[in-house]
């Protein structure tokens, strides 16, 4: 039985606003093919698959029936995790560490272009109280952004800097959907979606898939020269009703991060983490999540982005891939963060490589105002 689990291959599709040319199974298979080719494995080699998709987004009850054949689930173990993809990796890791399985494929897919985002997100809210307010995740995020900016004096300019950094970083990522050469002024003059969130403060609609292979220590060393170890990971839920929490705080993220750091033996994240890929669906979120992750104190993320420390040349580059705001679909987003972290640790991130990345952090979110956070620490 393995003491630790390793990721031996990752695959991503180039994220795209509307993959009208591909069905969900074909899109998922594009990512699966990459990990098969990288390792020389066949679908029939896997003991288990963990898939990640949402029935509401796929428009199909039991949405894993869509992709069971492209993950090799026939006469095999498969389960569908209905949270962000980073949690599917966690479930895959549990299979390895339990000794029940040795070689697991994990695949996430969503085609946001095919469904009505606002209506689906509205259905996440409790029918009795919140749904009839017409909330979706943008308007909920707007409330969180407003509260966060008010409580800590974070400015729209500081949020806009996240967008400029990440959309700029995306230029060097071949998988990125929408790299942009923009300025803070461009962000601040883009149209309002839900105040204070503007069009450029929000991630665009995206279609894509991501796949990875997780395995035991022994098998990892045979399958690749550069296994990436999952050093620590955890996740955590917030409460549902938006009024029940101080939206300016993300204690669930704090809990998940502390547990992951503790497993990985990390005491000072700013010092010990070389690169971070975190899920910022909206610009203010990158700032909030950095605080939740302990990169800085509460309310200080504005200063952090101002300092340039999280830029490509800085001490702790955040989202060298361009992040979620450059275009990642739900379910895939957090898994893509892990995939990018893996590429960084393997030295395979090409033009957006962070030098000497030895320890990386990846993060994924699910739900309104990120009611669920997942954190993963990876290392060479």
């Amino acid at each position: 039985m393995s003491e630790r689990a390793a990721i031996v291959a990752v695959g991503q599709t180039k994220y795209h606003p509307n993959r009208a040319d591909a069905s969900e199974e074909e899109l998922a298979y594009e990512a699966v093919k990459q990990v098969l080719e990288a390792t020389g494995l066949a679908l029939s080699d896997f003991d288990a698959a963990v898939s990640c998709s949402q029935d509401f987004w796929d428009g199909r009850t039991i949405s894993n029936m869509n992709i069971q054949h492209v993950v090799g689930a026939h006469l095999s173990d498969e389960d569908k995790v209905c949270e962000d993809g980073i949690n599917a990796i966690y479930a895959g890791m549990a299979r390895i560490l339990s000794g029940h399985h040795e070689l697991v494929i994990v695949v996430a897919h969503t085609k946001e272009s095919q469904a009505e985002k606002s209506l689906i997100e509205n259905a996440a809210f409790d029918p009795a109280l919140l749904r009839q307010l017409g909330l979706d995740f943008v308007s909920a995020a707007a409330m969180q952004a407003r509260r966060y900016m008010y409580k800590y004096g974070i400015t729209p300019e500081q949020c806009a800097k996240v967008v400029v950094k990440n959309r700029g970083n995306a230029k060097k990522n071949p998988f990125a959907q929408a790299p942009l050469d923009i300025t803070v002024e461009d962000v601040l003059s883009s149209k309002i979606l839900s105040s204070p969130i503007r069009l450029l403060d929000a991630k665009p609609i995206s279609d894509g898939a991501c796949a990875m292979i997780i395995t035991t220590e022994d098998r990892a060393k045979k399958l690749t020269k550069k296994p990436v170890w999952i050093l620590g990971t955890s996740n955590c839920y917030e409460t549902h009703y938006l009024g029940d929490r101080d939206l300016a705080e993300c204690e669930a993220l704090g809990k998940a991060a502390r547990k992951a750091y503790s497993m990985a033996g990390i005491r000072n994240p700013m010092k010990e983490i070389d690169v971070a890929e975190i899920s910022e669906e909206y610009s203010y979120q990158e700032l909030m999540w950095m605080e939740g992750l302990g990169f800085c104190g509460k309310g200080e993320a504005g200063k952090l982005i101002d300092s340039g420390v999280t830029g490509m040349g800085g001490k702790l580059p955040v989202n060298p891939s361009g992040g979620v705001i450059s275009g990642n679909p739900i379910c895939v987003a957090g898994m893509a963060r892990v995939a990018e972290a893996v590429l960084q640790l393997r030295g395979e991130a090409g033009d957006h490589q962070v030098k000497n990345a030895r320890v990386a952090l990846a993060h994924g979110i699910t739900g309104a105002c990120a009611q669920h956070h997942g954190v993963m620490i990876l290392g060479r």
Binding site: D55, S63, H74, D77, E78, A94, S234, C236, Y237, A256
Partner: protein, 389 residues
């Protein structure tokens, strides 16, 4: 060494067709509180919470998020899974992996469904691939009707045998305070008077749509022995999915294809040194969505030879007082809150091992039990439970 996993708390709601008095979160909470009470734990003792539900039935996009406070997710790690009909067993499998791995020592496992919220049949029909399945989907009922027809033909089982299975289920359900349908059926003739829904399935032959939840508390060995005097060991799990059959969804009328049930029980039995299931296992709680399917499953799981499932029911072998009781709880045909149903199978098997099944406790001593789950298309999850390691 992986941790051994035990069930130390069991709770379920009183399953019924409509629960207008509670919302989905409150209903789920009932099962959670019952499981915590059974384990004499508080929610603070739970390290992670896992849930299963088919969210299209309630039209709630992220049900685990909505009930974060009520069901015990708030402030804790966890996640929700969904695999259709087997969701409630997939969540048992997740709990098994997470506790066996050492990642958590005490975990809460929840299966829950409130089917009075939506149109169950429409949601099941939406399981067909949208770009292909509009043609001729008949819902689950149609598929089980076809399977019943095949079983009649190949095994020589008669409608009387299906009626006997229905009678057993009802007799057992009447002894189970949590069961949904308690009809007080008295005779084979009474069952055979029930009108056909989709020939040869009668109204009485098919499972109901229920509202209900079931919660289990899993613990690793070192914690289990401290928490419970009667931990029930979840010794092994086998999940087998499969491609849709060419000519069926839950059954293969061509007789040429492989069944997930066969693969699952062969793997499970082999790993656990079981060569004669009727000897090594004392009873089973199986997922039988129709009475015809129950007889078929006896054969699939090697409780009897091929074509002989109907003989077991004829001889009373699978009654509560019988030599190999199956579904003393009344089974799925009496109670079916889809997301919870597989979890209930595991819960009921565990209750039997503990000797805590009250009026529906089987007569023989149960040291080893098996629980099965069934989903579309014929996906299967098997759980093996034991009183001692």
């Amino acid at each position: 060494m992986p941790n051994r996993v035990a069930i130390v708390g069991i709770g379920q709601t009183y399953h019924t067709s409509k629960r207008p008095d509670v919302n989905y979160a409150e209903m789920t909470r009932e099962a959670v509180m019952a499981a915590l009470a059974d384990a004499q734990l508080s929610i603070k003792d739970i390290e992670a919470t896992f849930m299963a539900s088919m969210e299209t039935f309630e039209a709630i996009y992220l049900p685990d998020h909505e009930m974060a406070a009520e069901a015990g997710f708030f402030g804790k790690p966890g996640l929700k899974v969904g695999t259709g009909g087997t969701s409630g067993a997939s969540v048992v499998a997740e709990g098994f992996y997470f506790v066996a791995s050492g990642l958590y020592d005490v975990a809460l496992i929840i299966g829950s469904e409130k089917q009075d919220c939506g149109d169950t049949t429409a949601a099941i029909t939406a399981a067909a691939t949208p770009m292909w399945g509009k043609g001729a989907t008949t819902g689950a009922i149609g598929e089980f009707a076809k399977q019943a027809l095949s079983y009649m033909k190949t095994s020589g089982a008669k409608e009387e045998h299906a009626a006997m299975v229905r009678l057993k289920a009802d007799r057992n359900a009447c002894r189970n305070p949590y069961a949904h349908l308690k009809l007080g059926l008295k005779s084979v003739e009474e069952v055979l008077k029930s009108p056909y829904l989709v020939w040869p399935l009668r109204l009485l032959d098919f499972c109901p749509q229920s509202c209900g939840a079931c919660a289990l508390i899993f613990a690793s060995e070192k914690r289990a022995k401290k928490i419970s005097k009667k931990p029930v060991w979840l010794v092994d799990i086998e999940t087998v999915h499969q491609e849709v059959f060419k000519a069926g969804v839950f059954g293969d009328p061509t007789g040429k294809e492989t069944y997930a049930q066969h693969v699952a029980c062969e793997r499970l039995y082999k790993r656990n040194g079981i060569t004669n299931p009727r000897k090594s296992i004392d009873m089973a709680e199986i997922y039988e969505p129709s009475n015809w399917e129950e007889m078929n499953l006896y054969e699939h799981f090697h409780f009897c030879g091929k074509g002989e499932g109907w003989k077991l029911i004829e001889k009373g072998v699978t009654e509560i007082e019988g030599e190999f009781p199956v579904n003393p709880s009344g089974g799925v045909i009496a109670t079916n809150p889809i997301g919870a149903t597989p979890t209930i199978r595991v819960a009921e098997a565990a209750l039997q091992i503990r000797g805590d099944a009250g009026e529906h406790q089987v007569t023989k001593d149960v040291k080893t039990a098996m629980a099965s789950a069934l989903g579309g298309p014929n996906w299967t999850v098997l759980s093996l439970l034991k009183r001692s390691l």
